[in-house]
Symmetry: C2
Subunit: 115 residues, 2 copies
Amino acid sequence: MSNDCIFCKIAAGEIGGPPVYQDEEVTAFRDINPQAPHHILVIPNEHISSLNEAADGHQALLGKLLLTAAKIAADQGLAETGYRLVLNTGPQAGQTVFHIHLHLLGGRRMAWPPG
Amino acid sequence: MSNDCIFCKIAAGEIGGPPVYQDEEVTAFRDINPQAPHHILVIPNEHISSLNEAADGHQALLGKLLLTAAKIAADQGLAETGYRLVLNTGPQAGQTVFHIHLHLLGGRRMAWPPG
């Protein structure tokens, strides 16, 4: 855990409301600035600042982020209508919090290009 | 392999040019309709039609998609400037080919919302 990381504090339950989903490895919670009717962030509980810092040893954890997002999408009734997952790394992508977070967006038609 | 899947044919080397990256588990190639200066698709060689059909046993393979995208981004000189990864599932997200493919976009500033 990084002491000055807001997402570490959310994963630890120090701030924020009840998570959408949480287990020993990942936490999911609603984006405070939603860009779609459903906009949820899925993060590893471990502090990894960006995908650039992910190591080969994080492979299973990264896969779990995607599987967890799929399960949450199903729970939210989005599996059939569809959902977009987005992972931003670095300045040109618009990464603003330096703790890996996977955006899950659904509940509306998503445009192309993706930003 | 699915006989009528265009991405299976690309992974098998039956169509398309030389891949950007390929190993026994994943293949990466350039999107034919690029939405950014760098627009690469990373796919599992195994046919999985969408993230809805991914099973717990695919966890490591899904993590490898993300790690491979990060490595390709570094190879393409995008690690510092940044890159966006996008995974579309189902109609509202705009999924058009039903073989999991992770979009890697970089080389320009990406807007928000992501489509």
